[in-house]
Amino acid sequence: MVRLEPRRQHSQAMVYLSPVLAILMTLVVGGIIFAFMGKNPLDALYTFFILPINNSYGLSELFVKATPLVIIAVGLAMGFRANVWNIGAEGQLTMGAIFGGGLALYFYDSESVFLLPAMFVLGALGGAFWGAIPALLRTRFNANEILTSLMLTYVATLFLSFLVHGPWRNPEGFNFPESRPFPDAGLLPVIYDGTRVHLGTAVAVLVVIAGWLLLSKSVIGFQLRVVGKAPQAARHVGFRQKRMIWFTLLLSGGLAGLAGLFEVAGPIGQLQPSISPGYGFTAIIVAFLGRLHPVGILFGGLIMALTYLGGELAQITLGLPNAVTGLFQGILLFFLLACDVLTKYRVRFGSIAAKGRTA
């Protein structure tokens, strides 16, 4: 019989090593899968994980892809710490893009320097608004935020689709389902010439620092952790759970909205039916890969961004299906969770356990 037995004390080193271990095992299993598909595993892994970033442009693309992942994941991690499970970052991202992008479309011939900051604000507000709905439903009606936030994702995606197919469609766009391109004043400046690395990447780094300060140095971060770890202790000292639900959903929604705006005002430059390859969902993996810690999330975001780039390259050069990206992300999450379980528990085989010797 095999059973899991809680470890009396789990090694702190293992808590941080487990993501590394998970990545290594993902590579091994990925190699085996490539081999089964008739590709040389080492070549395939090289194409997937090294080739995308062995030149400076590739590296810059890594930052572009990691930017939304990191920004969203930092917000989500705050909620996860407090046991608030916002699964709908993808929808909040979309709403942020709609709110902020809508402003750019309304002032499509503006040259004002205030347009971009106003779009930031509106983007964050749009995401926060979409996060506020699950918060209200949870605090008022005790509706599970996992379900409500997830379902609202589809509402947001369809709403965007409606807008770009209908009222916001570019009148000069030959009936393509796209908005007008944003005016230059509504586009994020590129901060490194010759690449697509934009202002949002710098903001992502600031978000990481601010997130770290909030979580480990501030009273409100302390409250978050207490509410998550021991709700009764939180009630005892008057840290109100409802306030934490509002705070984390507004914060994570706002950050997701900001990330969405960065996408449409950065790499994309307009509204279109699809503005994200699932960044809002992938950010959940990023948050856990980074141990719900902002600095860890920075690395987690880079790794997950690599799976996007590798997946694209594998499609082009190896002719592998796009599903490879999702496959790698899934395998990684699986191994990560498995490593976490083994950090907290040890596997016991029943027959070996007996040690009471008979004299």
Binding site: G350, A353, K355, T358
Partner: protein, 543 residues
């Protein structure tokens, strides 16, 4: 032989033995168990005869729980062996243990909160086919042993005392040959304790061996025929409790002389600092006890005890005083230093100088997987100014925790240790110390020494007495009457959400309090205790 077996290898020894001279029900031989960095059991040996009530004594951390877990198959010994009815056995799991006839009432209840009493009992049975038959069995055991329980109530609605009854009932259902009880009486009235003892004595007469773990030494004295004393994982002695005094056994346990709490000179009381008047409050919980017209006044320098059986509204009272309830009472029903606070949350009450220590340490009074530093910050960050501009001030936070650890002799590796790594007694000292060092005007403390070893308990009692001597009003909610008699100046009794009138400690006897605990109140009409003496105590008499 390596395979788990419960059959005797010496066959004839058991059957031919004369009563009393036969093999022990259980013999523990040289059991050793090491954990990383700690030798929990070091060559422990003792034996329990059939029908013997055997006490296992020792401070928290002495290795009692580990030993019990080994006997019950939860842990496996590194060395040594268990002899059951004369034959060596390996007990691989609680399932095996139950099959052999070992029953255990855990100190921390292993119950599923969202399931009913009956479902919880069914889960612990090895093999249940017919729930109706089980229900009948349960009701029979409840009747035989006087353990009233509604099989269909959900566990989360039950008090600690009621939860323990489930554990006892489910052990008794399996007709155990060895029953292990870990701190079983902490939550019972004196009358109920006496009833439990009758149950246990009856079981022993029927030949069941009982291993009884308790800190309450006079109970051990009253109940047990033999005792084994553990200290630091080793057996340091055995005795016949009937020939010892509680004090001598306590000293054996802690390995040093014990001093009684120093109550100081005759105490004088100041102004009323905690004033509760006409407080009625619906319980937040579905099957909770509603508070009905609670009145009490605690003066500066006074320690007032709230006695009562678990589940009679003490939890609700604590939560109402600490500001944890969702229901709001009229503002002036609770006053701290004359200021109406019943509409305030916990933080504003704390700002007015009230501090609170809840009954449950892990997850209520402290966050187990946070450091002691952070746990110090948890309740003290306002009063001790441990935060500034929304940020945690690292240095003062750490030195506050260090101060608690030093002042209250908390045994730990340092302020960075996780609260959950401390033993019950040490964590309780830390939590009590955290509140006392905030120099409170009012301290409300629930079950200050539940599951705490004798050394820590006496330190906590002394700390409460010292605090009162400095002019703090202290309200002690406790099911331990010894504790109330040891440190309180006055006492009130709660039963079914109502509270008796306060009485000076000097004027009441333990029997009177026992009767009040059973719900015979002087509130409704003029029933005096004297009239009730012929009524059998406990809740039975109340119906």
């Amino acid at each position: 032989m390596g395979v788990a077996t419960v059959t005797s290898t010496t066959g004839d020894a058991g059957t031919e033995a004369i009563k009393g001279a036969g093999p022990a029900q259980l013999e523990v031989r040289g059991v050793t168990k090491a954990f990383p960095g700690c030798l929990a059991n070091d060559d422990i040996s003792f034996r329990i005869e059939p029908g013997e009530i055997h006490a296992l004594l020792g401070e928290n951390g002495a290795g009692k729980s580990t030993l019990v877990k080994i006997i019950y198959g939860v842990l496996q010994a590194d060395q040594g062996e268990l002899i059951w009815e004369g034959a060596p056995v390996t007990i691989q799991s609680p399932h095996d243990a139950r099959k052999m006839g070992i029953g255990l009432v855990f100190q921390h209840f292993s119950l599923f909160e969202t399931m009913t009493v009956l479902e919880n009992i069914a889960l612990a049975m090895n093999d249940v086919r017919d729930m109706d038959a089980l229900r009948k069995q349960v009701e029979e055991v409840e009747k035989t042993y006087g353990l009233p329980l509604d099989p269909d109530r959900h566990v989360y609605t039950l008090s600690v005392g009621e939860r323990q009854r489930i554990e006892i009932v489910r052990c008794l259902l399996q007709n155990p040959k060895l029953l292990i009880l870990d701190e079983p009486t902490s939550v019972l009235t004196p009358q109920e304790v006496e009833k439990l003892f009758e149950t246990l004595r009856r079981l022993a007469d029927e030949g069941c061996a009982i291993l009884y773990i308790s800190h309450k030494l006079h109970e051990v004295k009253a109940l047990c025929q033999k005792a084994t004393v553990l200290r630091g994982g080793k057996v340091v002695g055995g005795c016949d409790p009937r020939e010892e005094t509680a004090k001598s056994m306590a000293e054996m346990m802690i390995g040093q002389k014990l001093t009684a709490p120093d109550r100081g000179e005759s105490r004088t009381f100041g102004d009323v600092r905690l004033d509760v008047s006409n407080l009625s409050l619906l319980s937040d919980e579905q099957f909770g006890t509603h508070l009905k017209d609670i009145n009490l006044e605690v003066r500066g320098g006074e320690i007032m005890g709230v006695a009562g059986v678990a589940g009679n509204g003490q939890n609700e009272l604590f939560r109402a005083l600490a500001g944890e309830t969702e229901q709001e009472a009229a503002p002036d029903t609770i006053k701290i230093d004359g200021k109406s606070v019943a509409h305030f949350g916990p933080r504003r009450r704390r700002r007015l100088g009230a501090t609170f220590v809840p009954e449950e340490r892990n997850g209520h009074g402290a966050v187990p997987d946070m450091s002691l530093s952070e746990n110090g910050f948890l309740t003290a960050f306002r009063r001790m100014a441990l935060s500034a501009k929304g940020l945690i001030r690292e240095m003062p936070t750490k030195s506050f925790a260090d101060n608690i650890i030093k002042t209250f002799d908390v045994r730990t590796t340092g302020a960075g240790a996780e609260a959950g790594s401390l033993s019950g007694g040490n964590l309780q000292k830390f939590i009590v110390g955290r509140e006392i060092l905030q120099d409170p005007g009012v301290l409300v403390i629930s079950q200050p020494t539940w599951g705490v070893d004798a050394g820590a308990a006496s330190a906590i009692h002394q700390a409460l007495l010292d605090l009162a001597a400095k002019g703090t009003a202290v309200l002690v909610i406790s099911q331990d009457l010894d504790e109330i008699f040891a440190i309180c100046d006055s006492v009130v009794v709660m039963a079914e959400g109502k509270m008796s009138k306060p009485r000076p400690m000097a004027d009441v006897s333990i029997e009177e309090i026992g009767l009040l605990m059973g719900g015979l109140h002087d509130l409704e009409g003029d029933v005096t205790p004297a009239n009730n003496l012929e009524v059998e105590g406990g809740r039975v008499g109340q119906a």
